[in-house]
């Protein structure tokens, strides 16, 4: 039974690490994805994370298993928070523990990269200049003649 990777609660990284680290581990690498106060040139005040939950759990599990296959000596824990987060709050926490650090660093980087690429999770940014689903506006192709035409 895979662990649940999604939570609606504040992430407790120490708790996550406690479930992962063994006495044989000499290296514990921790990554925290944190809500920052800007996106490109726009100020951000808060972010709301949404997910296609059952599929997001599966896709994160696929990333974790794929990295585990490449780094069999690394144990990992991943938690992604959903809902409304303010600047400074942690959206995702990853813990990778291993005997030695090279493996742990590498695994951690691969996990965050993999989750960002494949998990069906979306963030909606709120700021003084408005609200935006990240990645949607830049996904536009050709203008619609009757919507975009200027007088």
């Amino acid at each position: 039974m895979p662990m649940a990777y999604l939570t609606d609660d504040i992430i407790d990284i120490r708790n996550l690490a406690a479930g992962v680290v063994r006495p044989s581990d000499g290296a514990v690498v921790t990554f925290a994805g944190v809500v920052r106060d800007h996106h490109q040139d726009k100020a951000v005040e808060s972010i709301e994370y949404h997910a296609y939950r059952p599929m997001a759990e599966k896709e994160i599990d696929k990333v974790v298993r794929s990295v585990a296959a490449e780094h069999p000596n690394v144990r990992t824990g991943v938690i992604h928070r959903l809902g409304m987060l303010k600047v400074g709050e942690t959206s995702i926490a990853i813990v990778c523990a291993s005997s030695h650090r090279a493996d742990a660093f590498e695994a951690c980087r691969k996990i965050i990269d993999g989750v960002k690429e494949t998990a069906p999770i979306w963030k909606k940014e709120f700021g003084p200049d408005g609200t935006e689903w990240v990645g949607w506006q830049s996904d536009r192709t050709d203008p619609v003649p009757d919507i975009d035409q200027k007088e």
Partner: protein, 80 residues
Amino acid sequence: MNVTLKLFAAVRDIVGESSRELQLDEGATPEQLWRDLVSHHRELYVHRIPMVAINEEYAGSDTELHEGDEVAFIPPVSGG
């Protein structure tokens, strides 16, 4: 055949629904569903068809759907 359509993020906001039960002909594809959505929601026209998931697995937009399938359009993701 009965198919459930799941919508997320900006597509959900534009269409105004997160989930819809559909009655489709045999052989219907997600691409056909997308074109139907676009015809009713002009704002979608400027976007390419999003990634598609069928029964919680990524799939091609030309995959034939079957009775009981759950189809989802996955707009550009931004998790992590």
